[in-house]
């Protein structure tokens, strides 16, 4: 079974490039300010979420194992 993830987007650096939405469309959604929010960390596979985080041009996304607290990205 897939592990539970905690996904965060730092809004002091997010520029709304929206690449995360392209890689993991069921997890990330742009809010009214057109910044990304992780609305559903279980929406896509861990692989897709990590790909989204890696492709963030300003490294705004962090991904953790929600149960152990282990940091998976960066």
């Amino acid at each position: 079974m897939a592990r539970n993830l905690r996904v965060r987007v730092d809004h002091t650096v997010c520029v709304g490039n929206a690449m995360c939405e392209t890689f993991a469309p069921n997890v990330f959604r742009l809010n009214d300010n057109r910044q990304s929010e992780a609305v559903n960390p279980a929406g896509d596979s861990e692989e897709k979420i990590l790909e989204a985080a890696e492709n963030c041009p300003v490294s705004a996304i962090t991904v953790e194992d929600a149960d152990t607290g282990e940091q998976l990205f960066p």
């Binding site: 002091t12 520029v15 709304g16 392209t22 057109r34 492709n55 041009p57």
Partner: protein
């Protein structure tokens, strides 16, 4: 409210000091209609962020969608050359809107992620060391000629697999391409020479990488043709775009940043105390304080209301990074150069889906240069207090920056 000051963005005064002119507009008339060039001038930070993140309202296909003649005016006999410029510029991926833009950006995006570019840091460090070794021996340098120009040309040429002896020629073509943001009456001739020269130069390189793909950046672009995302002309135009964009803006970051340190000895002292620790935030402040790119244009895709103005469909809209990055509603003491400023939500790379593809590369080069300068040199003095800038509305480019040390 309208402004009765001399409303020309290409005068010597505005080129020398964009901050006063655009700052006055930002305070008095932040969404300003410039009658002379028939375009909207947007100067506030929040408006710039809003505008760039509403890409569905403001088209990036500026050359394709603007039926008007170029500004400032050009000679009528050059209109044929301008058609060439339109077709060339129009094929750049940055001159596209969604959905095409997303497909094009996806081809190149992975090459420029922070993680991929971190692998280039040792190469950048070695190149900086090599250039500074040569400068140190001479006891003086023109930062532009001896450091800021060769470094990014070296990096982007290495990424693209451009042979070393060709690099001065690339720089020569790039200088002609810079006429795109300028006002000279006869600028279409050097501009089209630069464009045709680039196409001619990159054609055989692209042919070769299509036949034998490698891990270089031209191969990445060429893979876009195989996927059916790019036409051959688009591959050629985008290869030359990245060859240009990969260095011109970085040159400005390195020169303008070095100048800011010379003009602010207290901040230089702060950098010198801990070059490796301070370089990251210092680079962000250099990007904010005297931004490499001054302004970018869009075309309104529909009627849009901004503040108390109505921007009509097809109106030209130009947003000014230089004034947004000095907006007092966003930055505390905006005219102060403070290398510990954080958070620093500058818009030197724009924002939204068109946020600069090469931002991380520029950051790595800036960090390594400012760090190395502070580690190796006690301090700098200008050879000549009088500084001259290129007469461009797009780029904040010094013509040269000769310095010595003590």
């Amino acid at each position: 409210m309208s402004i009765a000051l001399q409303d020309d963005m290409f005068t010597r005064d505005v080129i020398a000091d964009p901050y006063s002119y655009y700052g006055r507009l930002r305070d008095a008339d932040p969404v300003h209609w410039n009658e002379k060039y028939e375009l909207w001038v947007v100067t506030r930070h929040d408006d710039l962020v809003w505008l760039t993140r509403h890409h569905e309202l403001f088209s990036s296909a500026v050359f394709k969608n603007d039926p008007r003649l170029p500004y400032p005016a050009i000679d009528e006999s050059d209109l044929g050359l301008y058609e060439y410029v339109r077709n060339y510029q129009g094929d750049q991926f940055i001159q596209h809107d969604r959905p095409d833009h997303l497909e094009m950006r996806k081809v190149v995006h992975g090459y420029f992620t922070p993680k991929s570019l971190e692998e280039w840091r040792p190469f950048v460090q070695k190149a900086v060391k090599h250039l500074l070794d040569a400068a140190e021996e001479k006891g003086r340098m023109d930062v532009m000629r001896d450091l800021a120009t060769p470094l990014p040309v070296l990096v982007i040429a290495e990424m693209m697999g451009v042979p070393e002896p060709d690099r001065p020629y690339i720089r020569e073509l790039a200088e002609k391409l810079l006429y795109i943001g300028r006002g000279e009456y006869d600028r279409m001739t050097p501009l089209t020479e630069g464009m045709k020269g680039m196409i001619e130069y990159v054609s055989p390189l692209v042919d070769e990488r299509i036949a034998n793909p490698g891990d270089d950046f031209i191969s990445v672009l060429a893979s876009g043709e195989k996927q059916g995302v790019f036409t051959r002309h688009q591959v050629l135009v985008n290869t030359s775009l990245l060859l240009l964009a990969g260095h011109e803006t970085t040159i400005n970051l390195l020169c303008n940043g070095t100048l800011a340190f010379i003009q602010h000895p207290d901040q230089w002292a702060k950098l010198k105390k801990d070059p490796a620790g301070a370089a990251r935030l210092a680079t962000e402040e250099c990007l904010r304080y005297d931004s490499p790119v001054k302004s970018i244009q869009r075309i309104a895709s529909q009627d849009v209301e901004m503040r108390d103005k109505v921007l009509k469909k097809n109106d030209r809209v130009r947003w000014f990074i230089s004034s947004a990055n000095r907006d007092p509603d966003m930055f505390d003491q905006p005219n102060r150069f403070d290398i510990t400023r954080w958070p620093n939500q500058h818009v030197a790379f724009g924002s939204g889906i068109h946020h600069c593809l090469g931002a991380t590369l520029a950051r790595v080069e800036g960090q390594e240069v400012f760090k190395a300068l502070a580690e190796r040199f006690p301090g700098f003095r200008l050879d000549n207090e009088a500084l001259e800038y290129q007469p461009s509305i797009t780029f904040r480019s010094l013509k040269s920056l000769p310095i010595h040390w003590h």
